[in-house]
Symmetry: C2
Subunit: 189 residues, 2 copies
């Protein structure tokens, strides 16, 4: 114990803080919870909390950026000759395979976003930044010019379906997110 | 002339002001144009401008609310036994049939939104508010529970495709918006 004189761990686990915060947001509503509430519930100082999460919004968005990064990497790893419908389903399944330790956090995160129109607003472009990547993927795999109507429309349809499946999973309170996404995109095909 | 002593018309046409504003935003970038710039270019006082459009954002969003209203009305008017794919295509075609006088304004509007991530953020929920309406439509027409995965996913796919088609039309600089939407949803089917 002598090496932890304050009784407080030296490093704070951002995932643990996120989970505490997102549970609070989900239970009481995002607007009703302050950063002070989060710090108190997580047992960290206000200062430590702000060092990890400069804004309340940052507590909500972190994990979705990792989702987008997994999706981009999975798309780039698909074999060249594969039809886009198969590649998109596999890539979305990989992206939606959240590590076990953050599945509950992700569920709260998606529920909080869904419940708060202002948050929904803030976050969409983070996912929307993927649009061009998806459109180029569809054009490359199905043939066609990424500037044409077809690839843009197919990419948007799949992206909308995948996001709807994740949102549905978060509210349905059962199963794994990747299974909901897989089922949705299989049906869409 | 005696009844217009200031040489200024008594009523200001909001559509004309919108067009002037959206052309400016499209040419110079939304952030680079002030409400004073808009007032000067439209030949109206700052006060009159703010009476019609309380915020700069209101200049951008007005027309999309009319689009959403047309879509809701068109969905509600579809015959009960029709498959949802046919009903959605017809309803989106009707919604995307902007009156001749606002087609150019709409094109600028969609280009401005697309170019500005912060705006894209603000507007999505206005369209996202339609999600439940679309999901219930799909469930009612195809059979199924609106709380299930399938209807939510199909509704989101069609909605994503229609929005992508409008965005594509706005950047492609040709044709009519309803034709792009119709082509997109016909292909999706």
């Amino acid at each position: 114990m002598s090496d932890r004189p304050t009784g407080r761990p030296r490093t704070i686990d951002p995932d643990a803080v996120s989970l505490v915060a997102l549970r609070l947001f989900d239970d009481r509503g995002y607007d009703a919870v302050s950063m002070d509430d989060v710090a108190a519930a997580a047992g960290v100082s206000r200062r430590s909390l702000f060092r990890l999460f400069p804004t309340k919004g940052a507590l909500v968005w972190g994990g979705l950026e990792e989702f987008a990064a997994r999706l981009r990497a999975a798309l780039d790893a698909r074999p060249a000759g594969e039809p886009s419908a198969d590649g998109l389903r596999a890539a979305y399944r990989a992206a939606a395979t959240f590590p076990d330790g953050v599945v509950e956090t992700t569920r709260h995160r998606l529920r909080v976003i869904r419940a708060d129109p202002a948050l929904d607003r803030e976050g969409t472009p983070r996912i929307a930044g993927l649009e061009d990547h998806l459109t180029r993927f569809v054009a490359a795999h199905d043939g066609g010019d990424p500037a044409d109507l077809g690839p843009a429309v197919r990419a948007a349809a799949w992206s909308g379906a995948a996001i709807a499946a994740l949102t549905w999973w978060a509210s349905s309170d059962e199963g794994r997110p990747e299974d909901a996404v897989d089922r949705a995109l299989r049906e869409l095909r």
